[in-house]
Symmetry: C2
Subunit: 338 residues, 2 copies
């Protein structure tokens, strides 16, 4: 089968790879219907994360179950499924508290930008849709598998509530999904931080009431201006740099919450800054599995359309162009069809 392999910075290729098989009795193998490139893949593509040897890439996927191991009971061949980027048993204490990305048995689901995917712990990782989806629903279901699940967690972690004033740091697919999540949760005011016109426009369609183009101290000032000097109740940090975290912390009102989902690179938080501002922090790798049943229902019923973050669709064979377009910010997010 064909699959994506990252060889080094800027060097991503489609190659013939061995077909994945059932290894554990709890595995499933799925035939990919759609996959995509994640902002976090770019950390490696750009050489910021080291990739010492050729590595199969991708961790977002929807597909049809081909085969299941002998212990899989909740999922069966022929079903259309959405999975999360970490496999989880969904039965350990951490899973039951809703933190499946801290599952005692968690493991990555690697190499998903390919025609076939082996998914470990299938019962705890995959969620089947009620039926075979129409083609139009596929992008939104795929979005649930990572970016929408992650944006949703940012909003949950920051305790967004009906009436909240929310600011979103980051205008990538996760940031835009976070805007949509905040709207779904009833936020009254949603301030998107973006200096990129296409993204601003999608942010507004997703529910942003204000757009702030300034960054750093000026961005913080603008948010203070927009909130009568108080700061936002909830700030959703969807980037993961020291700069974006600082901006998030300083845009939050005392007693407000930062939900952070950008994988941190160079983020250090000074105890006194947290102490003297009363800003609370919750975040991490989004436990997408917790939200999948709810998100799939919202998409299935047409209540929300997170798939609109995909502004580029390519055949899997053109994966190199997909990475390049996202790297150069020509595309927000690229969907790949095997």
């Amino acid at each position: 089968m064909r699959g994506t392999v990252l060889h080094g910075p800027g060097d991503v290729r489609i190659e013939e790879r061995a077909e994945p098989k059932i290894v554990e009795a709890t595995d499933a193998v799925i035939r990919t219907v759609a996959t995509c490139v994640c902002g976090s893949d770019l950390w490696s593509y750009r050489g910021i994360n080291d990739v010492p040897k050729p590595t199969p890439f991708g961790h977002e996927y929807v597909g049809v179950v081909e085969a299941v191991g002998g212990e899989v009971t909740a999922i069966r061949p022929g079903q259309f499924v959405v999975g999360s980027f970490y496999a989880s048993d969904n039965t350990c204490p951490h899973c039951r508290f809703g933190y499946q990305t801290s599952c005692e048995r968690k493991q990555p689901v690697p190499g998903c930008q390919s025609e076939l995917i082996r998914v470990p712990l299938a019962d705890g990782t995959l969620v089947a849709t009620p039926d075979e989806p129409s083609d139009e629903l596929v992008p939104s279901l795929l979005a649930c598998s990572d970016v929408m699940g992650t944006g949703w967690f940012a909003a949950v972690a920051a305790e967004v509530r009906p009436g909240s004033t929310v600011a979103v740091v980051g205008d990538g697919a996760v940031g835009l999904s976070a805007v949509l999540a905040a709207r779904e949760m009833g936020a009254e005011r949603i301030i998107a931080m973006s200096r990129h016109e296409t993204r601003q426009s999608l942010a507004r369609e997703f529910g942003a009431t204000d757009v702030v183009t300034e960054r750093g101290d000026e961005g913080v000032e603008r948010i203070k201006d927009l909130t009568a000097g108080v700061g936002a109740d909830a700030v959703l940090e969807c980037v993961g740099t020291g700069e974006s975290m600082r901006q998030a912390l300083r845009s939050t009102r005392p007693g407000g919450n930062v939900g952070f989902v950008g994988v941190p690179h160079g983020v250090e938080i000074a105890g006194p800054e947290l102490f003297w501002t009363h800003v609370a922090l919750r975040g991490g790798a989004a436990p997408v599995r917790r939200f999948l049943p709810d998100l799939i229902e919202r998409v299935w019923n047409g209540w929300t359309d997170p798939g609109r973050v995909f502004d580029l669709t390519l055949p899997l064979s053109e994966v190199a162009e997909a990475y390049s377009a996202m790297d150069e910010r020509r595309a927000i997010k690229a969907l790949l069809q095997p």
Copy 2:
């Protein structure tokens, strides 16, 4: 009037000072009935915080109102009042969200280890008791003014709920109060970390179900052992060092909460550690004013007795011995009677 002045490390004296007067129309002046020494006073007494010139000390107090300014309406002369260590207007947006220690007009209430105290923003800072309290109630009311209010905030910040498993880092008066707060909030299991027999014993009386004497990695291991490898739902950090914060973060289960109230000295938190553990953080200078009406009611009705943290009572004239006893851990907390 007589008041306490810190001259430098280890040098605390009782001196004749000018009588405080009404300066602003929102001020009150109170005659101190009881005051005390705070663990945080020791940072200066030990020379860790710099004290460049002789400074009036103390910030915990209960007393009887002597005089009020022309704009004070909620408090009147003759009332017995409990105040918090920061004055707040209790009307600004931050106060209304319950973060009075981030009040837009916040200011310290300094020099409280004295016979008379000027309290700014009296209406927003002081809470009167229903009547003149009996002598036995005074220590518990005084405890509400700081340590119990602070321990209570630690438990609120860490989202302690009925049934929670709680660990408390720190066995000073705040840590012990945090144990009591967790019990009041219905925690099922309360693990106190202490290697000091007197404190362990009070912790148990306050509701601790387990005592852990180990520190650092071993302390974390013990808490994991006691929680079937999961970690505590809520960890109350009541010290403020890098070591204690590390211990708190590592003792918490994924998705659990650290409530931190120890003033941070040398605390740096690595973004990736928070991200990959899913531990949430909320803390800061406790907004004691938020909790005062509730805490006073609990004490007034005899439901709880936080004043038991005072194991040394001295006349104000012996303030030097009070500092020394706490510094040498001969006393948990010293109450001073003017």
